[in-house]
Each structure stands twice: as structure tokens, then as C-alpha cells.
């Protein structure tokens, strides 16, 4: 695992304190959306389709700090929209770092290289760069040719300047697992700290409503990608979450693990679903009907979700919440997950003929279900 020891220690002690105090529900990462405005129009994104007067609104730095303190999390992710379009994003990031929050600044990196000098490297600050695979795959996914090259320039500049950098990939149906593995090689060669990945979520407002994988397909894809790992690969994620994606673990969603705050307030019930808003974190925790969400609920809107914001908190709490969980995490960190069957599946998965249209091409050979 690529996560620094100090960050792991902070999260581990946070989880232990919560457990010892008897709290059943507590957050781990604040999903802080300071604005919805973006400079991309990605087909899989359901976050940015708003009238112009809403896209012009943004949280103030004070509102961001208050949200982080109110929920008390050790980590803050700043997605959006594109956070670098916020005129006070540097002040927001610096303020959160000063509060010793581990900040993941999510960005498509179109503006990263030219804005980099405004930020200061810190163990508390990571640039989490949206990169959905190799050049053609990424460009097609974000509906912009040339986007990949700009992002890579930003990543290289950030790595060179001493920042923590994690490429963050979302994969949809039709993804070629061999290409994803090649993408991992390319990222590690650049010198990023670790890779972050997740299957896509079926946003009901996303333009593309036909390429969201169901759970069975997600498990096969990630088993092919993540088995037989190379030693050079590092992941900035819980190994137990990766095992969940591969079908080795059954987890339920922890929607309160990554609460979302934006211009509308605290979002019910989670970062992905919008079922209303409340003004305080306390209200969010106390008034949300949690039993109506997550895979156990049968809710159709949660049916295909295996996304990190809901399931990685489950994995982290599992990993730091018991000795057996911790031991599984240690084993997972050093395992290559040798799996002959997965290797066979990987070799059988046909490369896509029309590489530039890889995101819309159907796989010629469906990968077989493994042990999920």
C-alpha cells in the first residue's frame, strides 16, 4: 500500500477511538464539493448538469473549514466540478492542511501545471488526478482529445515539484483489462505515489446510460486487472477494498463513511445519490433513513454500486477495526494475488480493434465469472 505511515496511523487511531467510544456510525472522508462548474463534459459524469446560476455558485473557504470541523474527519477529498476553477481553492487547501486534514485535491489536471506554483508540497496534500486509463481511453472517456497529454504534463510537473500524486481512474463497461494494466505500468514509471481506481456509478443524470457494469461484470473485470500484480504497482487504497472489487470479499455499503457537503448543504444519503439536503452534519446522521440505501436494502439506485466512496470506508473500518482485519490488510499489501484462472481470462480478453472507440466497443469475449 502506498499510503504513508503517518496517514495510516492517523486513520487507524481515529477508527480505534471511534470504536472504543462506541460510535456505530462515523465518517472517514469528507467529500467537499466547493463548486459544480467544470471545464470538461464527461459522458459518465452526473455531477455538472445544472443551470448557469447554480454553476456560478461556490462555497467560501470558511464554509469549507466549518464542514471539515463539523464532521471531524481525518481526510478531505475535494471533487466537484473542477476545484481548480474555484478562485479561492488555494486558500481552501491551505486552510485544510493547516488543520492537519489529509487532503485529496481531485482535478482533471487541465490547469494543474500552470497553477502548481500556488500550492506547497506537504504530506497532507495529494493531487488526485482524473485519468481513466491510457491516452485514447481517457480522451474518449472525458470526451476531449488531448486531455490525456495535458493531464500527464500536470502529473509529471507535480511529481517533480515533490507533491504527492495519485492518478484516479473510473472504469466503465467495455474496459480492456490489459490496457488498464499497461496504464498502471505507465503511471508507476512516472513516479506517482499510488493508483486509485473505482468502477463507475450509474448516475441517473449522466449522458451515457448504457455502459454501467453490473456487479458480476465488475468483479470479473477487476479480478482480471488486479490478480497477478506486478511488484512495481502501488495502490493508494485499502487492499481489502481491492479484494472486494475482485470478488474475494462481501461488503455492505457505508454511505455515512464519505459524507458530501456542497452549495446545497449536507447531501442525503451519500456522495452519489441526491435524496435531499440538510443544514448540519448531525442532522444528516440522525435523520437519514440509512436502511433504505445500500446493496442490502435492494434499492435499485444502489444496485450496481461498488464505488469507493461507499465501500472503501467499509474496508478501512474492517482493516483497522480488528486484528484479523489488520492482518488481512498486511497480507493484501504484499500479495501479488497469483491466480492462473485470472491470467487465462486476461489472456483471453480480446484487445479492442477500434482502440480509439474502446469505451463504446463491446468486449468480444466476456470474461468468465470467477469465485465471486
Amino acid at each position: 500500500m502506498a499510503v504513508p505511515i503517518s496517514q495510516m496511523w492517523t486513520v487507524a487511531t481515529y477508527v480505534l477511538k471511534k470504536r472504543m467510544s462506541g460510535e456505530k456510525r462515523y465518517p472517514l472522508v469528507l467529500m467537499l464539493e466547493p463548486l459544480f462548474r467544470c471545464n470538461l463534459a464527461c459522458a459518465g459524469c452526473g455531477k455538472v448538469q445544472y443551470p448557469p446560476h447554480i454553476l456560478k455558485k461556490q462555497l467560501t473557504p470558511e464554509e469549507c473549514f466549518a464542514a471539515a470541523e463539523e464532521c471531524g474527519v481525518p481526510m478531505v477529498a475535494i471533487p466537484g466540478g473542477e476545484p481548480l476553477l474555484h478562485p479561492q481553492i488555494v486558500e481552501i487547501v491551505n486552510g485544510l492542511v493547516a488543520r492537519k486534514k489529509y487532503v485529496y485535491m481531485c482535478t482533471n489536471a487541465l490547469e494543474l501545471k500552470k497553477r502548481l506554483h500556488e500550492f506547497t508540497p506537504s504530506k497532507y496534500l495529494t493531487f488526485s488526478v482524473h485519468l481513466d486509463g491510457q491516452r485514447d481511453h481517457h480522451d474518449f472517456s472525458v470526451c476531449r482529445e488531448g486531455g490525456y497529454d495535458i493531464a500527464i504534463e500536470g502529473i509529471k510537473a507535480a511529481v517533480k515539484a515533490g507533491f504527492r500524486v495519485t492518478p484516479n481512474s473510473t472504469f466503465f463497461d467495455g474496459t480492456d483489462p490489459n490496457s488498464v494494466r499497461a496504464h498502471f505500468d505507465e503511471m508507476m514509471a512516472i513516479g506517482v505515489e499510488g493508483i486509485v481506481l473505482s468502477p463507475g456509478y450509474s448516475y441517473d443524470k449522466a449522458p451515457d446510460q448504457t455502459h454501467f457494469m453490473g456487479r458480476a461484470r465488475v468483479r470479473r473485470l477487476f479480478r482480471a486487472i488486479l490478480s497477478n500484480r506486478k511488484k512495481s504497482w502501488k495502490f493508494n487504497m485499502s487492499p481489502l477494498f481491492l479484494e472486494f472489487l475482485m470478488g474475494d470479499r462481501n461488503y455492505d455499503c457505508t454511505p455515512w463513511g464519505s459524507p458530501a457537503y456542497n452549495i446545497f448543504g449536507w447531501q442525503k444519503p451519500c456522495y452519489l445519490l441526491q435524496d435531499g439536503y440538510v443544514d448540519t452534519f448531525k442532522e444528516l446522521m440522525e435523520t437519514t433513513k440509512w436502511e433504505e440505501y445500500g446493496v442490502a436494502s435492494g434499492n435499485a439506485k444502489c444496485a450496481n454500486c461498488m464505488v469507493s466512496c461507499g465501500y472503501e470506508p467499509t474496508a478501512v473500518i474492517d482493516g483497522f477495526g480488528s486484528m484479523s482485519g489488520f492482518w488481512s490488510m498486511v497480507k493484501g499489501t504484499f500479495s501479488m494475488y497469483k491466480d492462473k484462472h485470472a491470467l487465462k481470462l486476461l489472456n483471453e480478453s480480446a484487445p479492442h480493434g477500434a482502440a480509439k472507440l474502446v469505451q463504446i466497443a463491446k468486449p468480444e469475449h466476456a470474461l468468465e465469472e470467477t469465485n465471486a
Partner: protein, 142 residues
């Protein structure tokens, strides 16, 4: 199985190959009839889900152009409200269901008309014409 199904069993979920997408309802320009309390509730539930501005005509004659981002449904219309932003006011505002006489879906639906297939068609067309740096761009803010 479609997304209209409200509940799945765990088994159905675990075996799902492709997640059903969501059918986009064309609401732009719609003026629902508000003959009953249930009509009001349904219209405002759709307004809450709509990614465009709506016009609310109140029983006192005032008209509010707003983006509705939140709603609370209580036991009666008097106990229910929508929360909204208007293009000019900075603060969040609320209005009770019982005060609303008319709802019009007047604003452009920002989630409509941006299908993946449109992007693919546009991409292929431009590629065939030899264009470079093909891209979709976000809507202008003005």
C-alpha cells in the same frame, strides 16, 4: 429488469451483468395539472429531480423562477416544502407546498440531449473530416 423496479434481491444484484440505465423523462415545458394534493406532491417531486429552473406561481400571485434542490414531504401540504436558489438571490429559500398554485418547467433541462451516442456520432463525423482536438465542451454560463 429495468431501473423502474424499486427493489432487488441481494441475489439479483450480485448476478447483474449490466446495470440498467435510467430513462430520462422529458419535462421541459411541462405544466402539470394540480387538481389534488397528490398532484402537487408528484409535480414538486419531479421539480426536485429536474436539472433546470422551474417557475412557481404562488397563491398570492407572486412568481418565483428557481432551481429546486431540496424538498421535505410531511403529512400535509402545509408541512411540506421545497428549498430553492433563484438566479439573483444569494441565500437558500423555502416555500410551503400549500402556497403553490402552479408549477411550470420553464428552464432548459441541463441533463437532456447529451447522449453518449451523440458524442460518438459527432466524434466519428469530425474524425472523418480530418479534424483534430475533437471535444465536447461544457455549456456556457451566460
Amino acid at each position: 429488469m429495468s431501473a423502474e423496479v424499486l427493489k432487488y434481491t441481494r441475489e439479483q444484484i450480485e448476478e447483474m451483468e449490466v446495470a440498467p440505465g435510467f430513462a430520462h423523462e422529458n419535462l421541459e415545458g411541462w405544466i402539470p395539472e394540480l387538481a389534488s394534493d397528490e398532484d402537487v406532491r408528484q409535480a414538486l417531486e419531479k421539480a426536485f429531480d429536474y436539472r433546470g429552473d422551474v417557475s412557481l406561481t404562488l397563491k398570492n400571485g407572486d412568481v418565483i423562477e428557481a432551481y429546486i434542490f431540496n424538498r421535505f414531504t410531511g403529512n400535509s401540504l402545509a408541512e411540506s416544502w421545497v428549498q430553492y436558489f433563484t438566479p439573483k438571490a444569494l441565500d437558500k429559500r423555502k416555500v410551503s407546498y400549500v402556497e403553490i398554485a402552479r408549477v411550470e418547467f420553464t428552464g432548459k433541462d441541463r441533463a437532456a440531449g447529451k447522449h453518449w451516442e451523440d458524442w460518438v456520432a459527432k466524434y466519428n463525423e469530425k474524425k472523418a473530416a480530418g479534424e483534430k482536438n475533437i471535444a465536447l465542451v461544457p455549456d456556457k454560463l451566460d
